[in-house]
């Protein structure tokens, strides 16, 4: 089977859309959050919002690792670059994120710092081996999907006794963020705002869908793990509507071809070996969330850039006109921000949601530009008892 095409079959898509229309034919609205920025992009790219019945509202969640990283973390990386021996490596989209005073890693590079784009931590590790006179630091970001490669790089660095390699760790966790969003929506207090959740399929391939099952139970919210092709997304939406219409609230796995309840045990073992839970971590838009991010385990402290250079974390205030925080929480759609597509474009982003290819603002800018669907972000609070 050609996975790139089979899950984008238009004929099957039409049948799913018909099934969705029948299921949504009720005098009510459905508010579904796609947590992951990759889902937001896939939805917009395939034009799905315009094909759905008007009473289905997609609320875009904060699942974009670049978007949720607060500016203070960029400033921390910039501080590292004040040492001339440091070669800082990260993913391409990370390099453009503005920190304090609008300075990004790319602008630091233009001023002479050694900042390099890599495809992953292993490439940074190889670089460290070829540059023994330098200190190579990998600026690690991402949810559980990018964490196992960082874990593996740490293990290899330890095995090889590589002393000039370290990790500036900013890995974050999906389930605590999902809980944070649901709390912000008051879902636990009687369902303000959100009816159901699409959970990220790729994260589930690593951690399994059990953690999302726990979120679904704790908040009584129907949840469906979904892949990233259009048929995946339509199937997940259909399943969630069925649950809502039958007053059910459980987890369904709509990505069975790639995920299991337990996930990838090897990846999890590597992560347990190399990381520890941080008691607290600041998220852009969500504030401080307990146990929502990973730090480097004491056994690997020699490869922890934050410990190695004793970098303190100082929060940096965001541009007050930028609505990234509300966009990340699904409380505003990108076009409702006064900066959207005017002062803030992908070429000159003011906020991370426009800058990151996974951000909701860049998805709207690339594929939609104008408001595609009725704006009814949050159900009126009067509706709840």
């Amino acid at each position: 089977m050609n996975y790139a095409h089979a899950f984008a079959d238009p004929a099957l898509g039409r049948r799913l859309l018909l099934a969705i229309a029948r299921e949504a034919d009720k005098p009510r609205d459905y508010f579904l959050m796609e947590f992951c920025g990759g889902h937001t992009h896939a939805l917009c790219k395939y034009g799905l919002p315009s094909l759905l019945p008007p009473n289905i509202h997609l609320v875009h969640g904060p699942g974009c690792p670049v978007c949720v990283l607060p500016a203070g973390r960029i400033s921390q990386a910039l501080e590292l670059l004040s040492s001339s021996k440091v070669v800082l490596c990260s993913f391409g989209d990370m390099l453009r994120v503005p920190g304090s005073h609008g300075q990004s890693l790319l602008s630091a590079r233009a001023q002479g710092a050694d900042v390099r784009m890599v495809l992953g931590p292993m490439q940074a590790l190889q670089l460290a081996q070829t540059l023994p006179e330098h200190e190579v630091v990998f600026f690690a970001i991402g949810f559980e999907t990018t964490t196992p490669p960082t874990a593996q790089a740490l293990r290899l660095a330890k095995q090889k006794g590589l002393k000039n390699f370290s990790i500036l760790c900013n890995h974050v966790l999906t389930p605590p963020a999902m809980r944070g969003v649901l709390r912000a929506f008051g879902a636990a207090q009687g369902g303000l705002g959100l009816d159901a959740m699409l959970a990220p399929g790729h994260v589930s391939t690593v951690i399994g869908y059990k953690p999302f099952e726990e979120v679904a139970q704790a908040f009584g919210i129907p949840t469906c793990v979904s892949g990233f092709e259009p048929l995946d997304l339509l199937e997940a939406i259909y399943r969630l509507l069925c649950q809502l219409n039958r007053n059910e609230a459980r987890l369904e796995n709509g990505f069975a071809r790639a995920t299991t309840r337990e996930g990838n045990p090897t990846a999890q073992q590597y992560m347990r070996e190399t990381f520890v839970l941080r008691p607290n971590f600041e998220w852009r838009g969500l504030g401080n969330l307990p146990e929502s991010a990973l730090g480097i385990a004491p056994a690997y402290a020699a490869w922890d850039a934050q410990a190695k250079w004793q970098l303190p974390y100082k929060p940096v205030a965001d541009n007050p006109r930028c609505c990234c925080a509300q966009v990340l929480l699904g409380q505003k759609k990108p076009p409702e921000c006064t900066l959207f597509a005017k002062a803030c474009t992908p070429a000159s982003p003011m906020g991370a949601c426009m800058l990151s290819p996974e951000g909701a603002c860049s998805a709207y800018y690339a594929y939609v530009q104008e408001e595609p669907m009725a704006v009814l972000r949050v159900k009126k609070t009067e509706e709840t008892p």
Binding site: Y46, P357, A366, Y367
Partner: protein, 340 residues
């Protein structure tokens, strides 16, 4: 003086110093490009000007790596400038080429590039009549940069330009998208997997001649290089003050390109091509033009992909194979650097 060691020798500073070493190098270029105007070795090539409008275009080439599946910097430097002339509806006549060489650059590689340029120019029926070489110190360039300038004669009666299209005009695409960009990615070993894709690098003036000869009322031609089809259509929409609607189902993307894009999260419509063009013509001539394109080897996979409309002004929309419709915006994010 010893002859140049084309097998194991390297470019030295003396090859750009104006002395006998430089003369040796230049003689090799003259021999390869083989035409009487260059052989005169005057400061300028002089020739009789044909009647009518002329087209002039220039382009610099810094592609990395210099050799990639389906081409090399030499072929690209000839095709790129020929294509720019062809997009003005011009018949390419003469090229000039200047080379910036880094000290230490292997002469064997230089030979390959020069031979490739000579071969491409010969096939295209264009003469390289003027040239220049400069050598810079090691680390002051990256091996080899080439700049070419071309001059051509515009076919009589053609008035091509981005302001010419009218609502209802047909939008045609000459073939499949994305091969050059993906071939470059694979040559740079950035993919982490192997793909069997060669660059589509080709001279398009023959195809353009067939299109002009078809008698179709052509209004606009543009080769879809950096930024791919998305960039061309957005430029067109902005310059013409019209809207463009295209159909995803009619756009050809080969399976290897589609798979590489799916894995890497790239958009085939935004990836660079070096041998594909977009044409706008009067709606009543669309099928005739399409037939002429498909009859040419470089247009076998040509398709009618959409039409110009009154509005929304400056906006490109795409009817999706899946059913919906979305905006096709300017390419997002970092372009892969040094693809041409």
């Amino acid at each position: 003086m010893k002859p140049l060691n084309w097998k194991e020798g390297h470019v030295e500073m003396s090859h750009g110093a104006g002395g006998r070493a430089m003369a040796q190098l230049i003689e090799a270029f003259i021999e390869a490009f083989d035409n009487p105007l260059l052989a005169l070795q005057e400061d300028s090539a002089t020739f009789e000007a044909p009647r009518g409008r002329m087209a002039l275009s220039t382009d610099a080439f810094v592609v990395s790596p210099l050799f990639f599946p389906g081409g090399d910097i030499g072929k690209l430097a000839v095709c790129g400038t020929i294509n720019d002339l062809a997009m003005a509806g011009a018949r390419p006549l003469y090229l000039s080429a200047s080379f910036i060489l880094e000290e230490g650059f292997p002469l064997a590689q230089l030979r390959r590039v020069v031979d490739s340029m000579a071969h491409t120019a010969k096939e295209a029926g264009i003469k390289i009549v003027a040239g220049d070489t400069k050598v810079v110190e090691r680390h002051k360039a990256d091996g080899l940069f080439i700049s070419t300038t071309g001059i051509g004669q515009v076919e009589a009666g053609l008035g091509l330009g981005a302001t010419q299209p009218r609502p209802g005009d047909a939008v045609l695409l000459s073939g499949s998208l994305g091969e050059h960009g993906i071939a470059l990615l694979s040559a740079r070993e950035l993919l982490g997997f192997e793909v069997d894709i060669g660059s589509d690098c080709a001279c398009l003036h023959g195809l353009v001649k067939a299109m002009v000869d078809s008698g179709a009322c052509l209004r606009f031609l543009r080769d879809a290089t950096r930024g791919g089809l998305s960039a061309v259509l957005n430029e067109l929409a902005r310059a013409s003050g019209l809207g463009v609607l295209i159909r995803e189902a009619d756009i050809v993307v080969s399976k290897p390109v589609a798979s590489a894009c799916a894995l890497l999260g790239l958009e085939a419509l935004e990836i660079a091509n070096e041998g594909k063009l977009v044409a706008i013509c009067a709606p009543e001539d669309a099928l005739r033009l399409l037939g002429a394109m498909r009859a040419h080897p470089l247009g076998r996979e040509a398709s009618l992909i959409g039409h110009m409309k009154e509005g929304p002004k400056g906006q490109v929309e795409m009817q999706l194979a899946f059913g919906g419709r979305r905006v096709l915006n300017w390419p997002l994010g970092e372009q892969l650097p040094r693809i041409c």
